[in-house]
Structures are given as C-alpha cells and as structure tokens.
C-alpha cells in the first residue's frame, strides 16, 4: 500500500502525471465511493428496468386497449427523446410536483432525492427498450407451444410465467445484453443532477488538482472495467440458461 502510494507520488514528481487518487487517501476514498455509487445506480436501474420490461410486455398483451395505448405511448416517448432530457424532465419537472416532507432541521425536503430520481429516470429509459425486446422475444415463442400449455390447463398468467418468459428470455438475451450495457454507460448522465457517481467525483477531483487528462483516462478505464464485469456476468447467466439441444431463434 505504502509503496504503491510512493510509486505514484514519484511518477508525479518525475513525469508530471498526477494521479492523486492513488497516493492521496482522501481523493482515493472519494473516487472509490463514486465508483460504488455508479455500481449501485447501475444495479438498481438494471433490475428496475427489467421489471418495467416484463410488466410492460405483459400489458401489451392485455385485452383492455387503453392500457396497451399507454404502454405504446410510453415506449415512443422514451425511445425517441434524449436520456438527459428525460432525466431533467423527472428531476426538475416531476420533482417540482411531488410533495415534500420536513427534515430534522425543519426544512422542506423532497421525498425523492437526486439519486432516487436518477434510478427512476434510467429505469424508465432502458425499460422502454426492454419492453420492445421482451415483446419480440415473446412473439418468437411458437404459438403451438403456448397452445400446448393452454391444453394442459395453464392459465394465461401461468403459461407466461412458466413457459413463455423462460423461453423469451433465452431468445432475447443478446439484445437485452446490448441494451443493459448501454444502460450501465448511461448512468454517467446522473452527473447532470449532481449525483456523486464516478464521473461527477472525477470532475470534482480534476477541478481541485488540475489533472483533467489523467482523470479523464481514469474515468474511461473505470467504465471499461465495469462494463467488462457486467458482460462477464451476463455471459455466465447465458451459460447457466443454456439448454442442450435447443438453439433459441
């Protein structure tokens, strides 16, 4: 630990490459916390966007037409507007409308903080794509397979849970993977509403230390590593879901 710090300090002294996060414990801890928050943001919005996707795809198949229109409108809105504008819409637009509570100091405080708004905005953004991805997967499940389930007494909901979804997920895993990788990267826009995630913290650090090029590189390597880990995780899941003799079309 000591020697690593010494090495980076010497690197700075001899070459001018200033990586404070590796020798200044305070900076290092701050950046680690930033990465932690990026991971938290990514995990929560990946999970929530999957829920949005599954529920949305289910609603697209219900008989009650207004619900289907609602889901259609949602998809169009979120697919065709910039995610940053969506984040502002949630945080500044809807954020102004939600009720506030009074905190310990007697000050008005919104019930959702900027981190929570970022999770919601990112989930709805990626969720819109997930709905479409799940729907295409569901449509690719042969209707004869569903008919066999119905003939065995499965209700629509039960066949969705036990047969349609497990097959649809295997069919759409590659596109799902793409969209979720995109979501992990897009967590960086939370910067715009001052969520102290990796990019935001890096900005603070390079303002303090005037080491913009160094920190820029650190930020890129950070995301590269996070996305790499994510893709590794997904490929593990892909392998776990593999069924001998079955190639999802």
């Amino acid at each position: 630990m000591e020697s690593i710090q010494a090495w980076f300090r010497r690197l700075y002294d001899e070459t001018g490459i200033n990586l404070t996060i590796f020798y200044d414990p305070w900076d290092g801890l701050k950046y680690l916390k930033g990465i932690g928050l990026t991971i938290e943001l990514a995990v929560l919005s990946v999970l929530l966007s999957l829920v949005v996707g599954v529920v949305g795809a289910w609603l697209q198949g219900v008989r009650f037409a207004p619900l289907r229109w609602l889901v259609y409108g949602y998809i169009q809105f979120f697919r065709n507007t910039p995610p940053l504008a969506q984040l502002y819409f949630f945080y500044f637009g809807l954020g102004a409308l939600v009720p506030t509570t009074t905190n310990a100091f007697g000050l008005a405080e919104p019930i959702l903080n900027n981190f929570q708004w970022a999770v919601i905005a990112l989930s709805f953004f990626a969720g819109a794509f997930n709905v479409e991805i799940f729907r295409s997967g569901i449509e690719a499940v042969p209707h004869t397979t569903v008919e066999a389930a119905r003939a065995l007494g499965y209700s629509r909901l039960k066949s969705y849970i036990h047969i349609v979804l497990p097959l649809a997920i295997r069919i759409c895993l590659p596109s799902l993977n793409n969209n979720l990788v995109n979501l992990v990267k897009t967590t960086a826009i939370a910067y715009a509403i001052a969520v102290p995630e990796a990019l935001y913290v890096a900005n603070q650090l390079w303002s303090d230390n005037l080491n913009v090029p160094e920190m820029m590189n650190v930020v890129l390597v950070t995301y590269l590593t996070l996305v790499g880990l994510f893709v590794f995780g997904v490929s593990r899941i892909e392998r776990a879901l593999h069924v001998p003799g079955y190639t999802p079309s």
């Binding site: 004869t144 065995l152 007494g153 209700s155 069924v243 003799g245 079955y246």
Partner: protein, 256 residues
Amino acid sequence: MVGEGVMAMDKALKEPQVVITDVHKSFGTVQVLKGVSMSVRKSEVVCIIGPSGSGKSTLLRCINALVPIDKGSIKVDGIEVNDPKLDELALRRRVGIVFQSYNLFPHRTALQNIMMAPVHVLRQDKAEVEARARKLLAKVRLSEKADSYPGELSGGQQQRVAIARSLCMMPDVMMFDEVTAALDPETVKEVLNTIRELAAEGMTCILVTHEMGFAREVADTVHFTDHGRIVESGDAKAFFTSASDPRTREFLTQVL
C-alpha cells in the same frame, strides 16, 4: 347377481362421454364446421378421417375449448363447453390432446415436461407427481431419457413424451391429432404401439389420422369428414370395405 353386474358395466361402457351436437365454427367468413354431431362412448376409440382442410383439427380444438364454437353444444363428462362460465381447467384436465408437432417445452427435461402441469396447474404433491411421471415414462419405454431435453430426443421419442405429458393429468379422454404425420416410418410404429396399448387399457380415444391400416385395426367407429361435415360414419370393420358415400370411397381409394 353376476348377470346384473355385467349389465351395469355394459351400460357404463355405452354411456356417452363426449356428446357433440350440431357444432358450427367459422374463422372470419370461412365456415370450417357446418353442423357436426357425434358422440363418443366411454372406452370407445373413434377415428376421424378426411381430406386436408375439412376441419378435423378444428373439431378437436373445439372439444377442449382451445377454439370457441359459434353454435351448438359439446359435452364432456357432462361439462358444457359452449358456456361463457366454462371452467376451462375442469375441462382440460379431463381431455388430453397430443399434436402433430409434439410441442414439448424445450427448456425442460422429458421428466419435467411430464411433471409440470400437474404441479403448476393442479398443485399436486411434487413427489407423488414424479412417481407417476416415472411410471408413465416407463410405459412409453423412455425411462432412460428422463433427464434428456426435447432437443436431444428423436421425433418419435418426443411424441411419446408428449403422450406421457398428457396422461400425467389423468384425463378421461385422449385426443390425437395426426400424431405420426411428422415422423419417419420407423418411429411411427413406436408411437402407434403406445396408442394401441392405451386403447386396449380402455382409454377413450379420439384420433385424427391418415394411417388407415391403424385406424382399421384400433378404431371402433370411423367418421369421415369433408368440408366441415361428417359425411359418413360407421363401424370401423365395415367402414373401409363397404363405405357407401361416393366422396368417402374416392378418399379411401386415394389413401389406401
């Protein structure tokens, strides 16, 4: 005393289990069933034959309410299928259907395919269902394939798993829709043997088939359909030799 018992059993055997009365069904403007009536007694084996597009598959799908009928009545064990308040599960646990294309669930093993519906739908005890499923696998001679996935099985093996899957719901009636049409001649035999055994055990069977030799052998009654109507019906033995309707005779000369 003995005589009375035999008579009671005889009566039970003759009791109609499926009664179809004047069933009409259209898809859009296409009339597929134009007033079909027939009845199937307990333990009877009924074959439905007829040219492609004459509505055979549609009729089977109407019997277990996969397709709603427009007019008429279908009663299975006294359950009226043409009823808006129909208890679909009550109907479907009584009537099993096996399709031409097997339609196994590809993400589950043979054993799991057989166990799924009784566990998920009927909420029966898993251990009990597994014991029953293994017995059925043995019955269709696939015990050693319990842990194989459908993609690892031949067509004939998949079809036998599909039959076992239907049987595990313990139905009163089994329907088979051209279950050997997609199989090569060698594996057709395995599947027909399974059906033959079921019929011999007294299972009520409704089969749609192009295997005329098999129909003649196992069927009690044959119905010939054409353009959504039953054109001719009769005792299986007599049907193939002395069919009177010209359309039936033409069809029979083509397929025999």
